[in-house]
């Protein structure tokens, strides 16, 4: 055998197909995410936000509740000191340091977002999961269960989300917890529909057919196969929901339903309170608003990037 032929044979080996399969959806999605500028920006923003929230007490220069500079305001006919060396973002209407309030406020906002989304996710996933599982795998009686559950869902969907939140908040009374629950409730139908649809689609897949044909018990198929494979759109939605939760919470606070707690500032409440100073001190509205916008944007960017990365249609 001449060297040339050896070369050819080796070339043939080299150009032989490398097995691209075998990597899961998640692995490929993660790789794609790493390269996406959208995802990276979103992730960075979220990381900063979480970091600030965790380290808040140590980061804030002053106690957010202490009205250290109140006397300054009272004295000068509504003039509120703006950014200056001792108050980087200036002072708010009651003489408190704006920057400290913003930093400490991140904790509340994070809490609201996370709890509301968790609530929506959990209840919605149970509702939707049961629906989807029964509908897909259990034939006629399954359809009945699905109709009943979905009726409730449609009811909740019939009311636009903010109004639904208002209704819930009215029953529960003012406060941060109310906001969390109210916003959480509005997220439930979204998650329910999503997981149900996802599971339904999965239950029509070939691998489910194959498993059933092999005699695998339905419960096992649902829990071990359908459910894990249906999770990706739900996770995307969870990320996006966090953003929505923060914004809706701000809306509720604006309407007076949020927790008006002096010592525990929250961005939405800060924004609502700033209304009275709009004509003279717009920046009091801008600071919390920008905080809300950037944080929500971070989650939205990541969520959208995740959605694109997990889209099976885009897989090579």
């Amino acid at each position: 055998m001449s060297t040339k032929t050896e070369r050819i044979d080796r070339l043939a080996e080299l150009t032989a197909r490398t097995d691209e399969g075998g990597h899961g959806l998640w692995y490929e999605a993660f790789r794609r995410l790493r390269r996406s500028p959208l995802a990276i920006t979103g992730a960075v923003i979220i990381a900063i936000f979480v970091l600030i929230a965790i380290l808040a007490p140590w980061l804030a220069p002053y106690d957010p509740a202490s009205q250290l500079w109140l006397s300054e305001i009272r004295g000068s006919e509504g003039f509120i000191p703006g950014p200056r060396p001792e108050n980087w973002l200036g002072v708010d209407g009651l003489g408190r340091d704006e920057l400290s309030r913003l930093i400490i406020g991140s904790r509340q906002s994070l809490l609201v977002g996370v709890v509301a989304t968790l609530l929506g996710f959990t209840v919605g996933a149970i509702l939707g999961g049961l629906s989807g599982a029964f509908l897909g795998m259990f034939g006629k009686p399954g359809r009945w269960i699905d109709s009943v559950l979905m009726r409730f869902n449609d009811m909740a969907l019939a009311v636009p989300s903010l109004l639904l939140a208002i209704s819930v908040a009215t029953i529960l009374g003012q406060g941060l917890v109310t906001v969390m629950i109210a916003v959480g409730v509005t997220q439930v139908p979204v998650f329910a529909r999503l997981l149900r649809g996802s599971m339904l689609a999965q239950s029509h897949s070939d691998y489910v057919l194959a498993s059933t044909a092999l005699g695998v018990r339905k419960k096992r198929i649902v829990l071990n196969h359908i459910l894990p494979n249906s999770m990706s759109p739900v996770l995307v939605q969870a990320t996006l929901s966090l953003a929505t939760a923060i914004i809706e919470a701000a809306g509720l606070s604006f309407l007076g339903l949020g927790g008006a707690d002096a010592s525990n500032p929250e961005w939405g409440v800060m924004l609502a309170d700033s209304q009275q100073y709009l004509a003279t001190n717009l920046r009091l509205a801008v600071y919390p608003a920008v905080a809300i916008i950037i944080t929500a944007l971070g989650f939205t960017l990541l969520g959208e990037a995740m959605r694109e990365a997990l889209d099976p249609k885009l897989r090579k």
Binding site: K4, T5, R7, I8, L11, A12, T15, A16, R17
Partner: protein, 352 residues
């Protein structure tokens, strides 16, 4: 002068962050008036891209097109867009592989036909409707008047392809390009569609470029056949010589891989080993070398030059099959008995 002269057509796809893909790497062939020319090859050999390049249907971004494609002397590749647009549908037309996805689902069939008539022949209103119905009738769609108002999803696969053919020939194009028109259809419908194409081509004197991976289709239809591999034409010949004397190992392999009903029982199928991805680049040698049973050291010296024989048969190979070898191979495998496949005296060629 030939109707279409393609010289060294090259199409390269360049996307950010990936290596450039030479989908078409120097393809040349000619199409004379009224001639039926076949472009044959496996998926990925560049035959579809060639036709899209000729029609100017490739995307602008990330795509580089080189070479010349002279349609009656005018280079299609450098023509301004507006002129090309005027020519599409009227001088040159194309039909594609999947008839369902090739039709607009929300527009009635009639309108999809009359819009071509309006654009290139200025026909409107009732005359256009009548002409559209006539066209549908000509391609063999029953009850054409009613069909005009129907939507694509209401027609069967064969009828959709016929409708697409009607739209393509509506303005009596000089050149028709058919890209795997029957691949997505049932075998029985396949034969009908091919018959229809044959008829139309003969009646109007339209030239036809038939793109397919199916040698059987080509055997029954084409005057000239170009076998493509990895973006180049590796063998070109008239129909009979190609089937009687396949020269390039790839062609031999293709013919040898066709299963036959009259093969002895238990006889194994003979595919070409490897796949299209096992190529090397033409600059390094013959792209087919890794899969070639006939390869020698010379095959890696560089791209094999085009050899033209005096019979008009050309091939790109430094170690082609001789006619003796073909005979010998035919003896052991009944498949290569070429005359049985191509029989000019019968209507339907061969057994398919």
């Amino acid at each position: 002068m030939a109707l279409l002269e393609v010289e060294d057509l090259a199409v390269t796809f360049q996307r950010k962050g990936t290596r450039p893909v030479h989908a078409v790497d120097g393809v040349s062939f000619t199409v004379a008036e009224g001639q039926v020319v076949g472009l044959v090859g496996e998926s990925g050999c560049g035959k579809s891209v060639t036709s899209l390049a000729l029609m100017g249907l490739l995307a602008k971004r990330g795509v580089k097109v080189g070479g010349r494609a002279l349609f009656e002397g005018n280079d299609l590749l450098t023509m301004p867009n507006s002129s090309l647009r005027d020519m599409r549908g009227s001088e040159m037309a194309m039909i594609f592989q999947d008839p369902l996805s090739s039709l607009n689902p929300v527009v009635p069939i009639g309108l999809q036909v009359t819009e071509v008539l309006k654009r290139h022949r200025g026909m409107k209103g009732e005359p256009a409707q009548k002409e559209a119905a006539d066209l549908l009738d000509r391609v063999g769609i029953p009850d054409p008047r009613r069909r005009l108002k129907e939507y694509p999803h209401q027609l069967s696969g064969g009828m959709r392809q016929r409708a697409l053919i009607a739209m393509a020939v509506a303005c009596k194009p000089r050149l028709l390009i058919a890209d795997e028109p029957t691949t997505a259809l049932d075998v029985t419908i396949q034969a009908q569609i091919l018959e229809l194409l044959k008829e139309l081509v003969a009646q109007e004197g339209t030239a036809l470029i038939m793109i397919t991976h199916d040698l059987g289709v080509v055997a029954g239809l084409c005057d000239e056949i170009n076998v493509m591999y990895a973006g180049r034409v590796v063998e070109a010949a008239a129909r009979r010589p190609l089937f009687a004397n396949p020269t390039h190992p790839y062609s031999v392999g293709l013919l040898g891989s066709i299963p036959r009903l009259d093969a002895p029982k238990g006889e194994k199928l003979r595919p070409i080993p490897g796949s299209v991805r096992d190529n090397i680049a033409w600059v390094d040698g013959c792209a087919f070398a890794p899969r070639c049973a006939h390869r020698t050291d010379e095959c890696l010296d560089g791209p094999p030059a085009l050899v033209q024989t005096y019979t008009g048969h050309s091939y790109r190979c430094v170690n082609p099959f001789t006619s003796d070898e073909v005979e010998a191979a035919a003896a052991s495998a009944p498949i290569l008995r070429a005359p049985a496949i191509v029989d000019p005296s019968t209507e339907t060629d061969g057994e398919r």
